[in-house]
């Protein structure tokens, strides 16, 4: 590579990396969507169990959802706002604790956690609302 060609190569390399990052971001958002769908299913199942008065199933399902979330959270912390992740963790933990205490307020927290999780992929999508 000649010295004259260095600029051309750096220019190409930078835009190649940018392209790869854009593709990577697409897959990250897809993975977040899949996670959100999985957790939404679990939380809906827990809410349904609550409606039926099956506290044991609700506790088991909410606990499983929280464990799945906590495992995924480590990866998400690399690029998502830590405050948002913490808010979801807190909602899930509180919901689990309220179910364990057989409190009817647990349903509200399950819905809150579900909506926050569903909103996670949205904040990383390249959209006008996110840009401005």
């Amino acid at each position: 590579m000649t010295r004259r060609g260095v600029s051309d190569w750096i220019f190409l390399a930078l835009w190649l990396i940018t392209g790869l990052l854009a593709v990577g971001e697409h897959f990250v958002v897809r993975a977040e969507e899949r996670l959100a769908q999985e957790l939404t299913r679990e939380l809906d199942r827990a809410a349904a169990a609550l409606d039926e008065g099956d506290w044991t199933l609700a506790l088991e399902t909410a606990g499983r959802a929280r464990r799945v979330w906590e495992t995924a959270r480590e990866r998400l912390a690399l690029h998502a706002e830590h405050q948002r992740l913490e808010a979801i963790s807190e909602a899930l933990l509180e919901a689990e604790a309220l179910i364990a205490a057989r409190s009817g307020a647990a349903g509200g927290l399950l819905v809150l956690a579900r909506e926050r999780i569903k909103g996670l992929p949205e904040q990383h999508r390249l959209s006008w609302s996110n840009l401005f």
Binding site: S7, I10, F11, L14, W15, I17, T18, L21, A77, L78, H79, A80, E81, H82, Q83
Partner: protein
Amino acid sequence: MLIIFVRVVILYLTLLLFLRILGKRQVTTLQPYELVTLILFADVAAISMADTGTPLMNGVMGVFALLVVSFTVSYVTLKSARARAVISGRPTVVVANGKIVEDAMLELRYNVNDLLEQLRIGGYPNIQDVEFAVLETNGQLSIVPKSQHRPVTPADLGVATQYEGLPTPLIVDGEVDHRNLARIGLDMDWLRGQIRTHGVDDTRAVLYAAIDTQGRFYCQPRDGAVQGRGQTGERAEA
């Protein structure tokens, strides 16, 4: 605290690497787009350094985005004169044939006091001594004095001068530059012989040694390296 320390180290190394890629001009005379990059670099990095609630990748990505944009702009200005004119502007003649160009001054919103100040800084307190003054795209004023006010050069006096070139450093801070030594066709035996004439046996005891294009060897031993001879910074013909 440790988190902040590690974040600062990571962002510092990232910025340093990116500034090296951007080139030397980034830290000396700045074009407008270069200045913007530097200002933003500091801000983007600082936010990620201090705010541990923000993912570190956000900071790295911000700095990377700046690198890509800045490099692209400088690349485009390198390849296209028209783009260069749009992005960096064009140099403007503010003094022509010893007269202030009023239109150019108005266009630039450059007042006479600023012009006189820059001329004084440039060593020309009297505008009558100036033939041309050009405001460059990086904000510096280039001054071309009238021929009778230009410093006298050997060429004006008809004096012949020899080629000087650049001296080649051979030892810097005790470290021998083997590449330079090989480039000028010399070896370690020659170098050791030279430093011995300056009272030093070990190259590590030399602070700086160089040879110029006339073959004159310069050697400055470290303080205290030469016992009872007191010779520093001496030249010897190679």
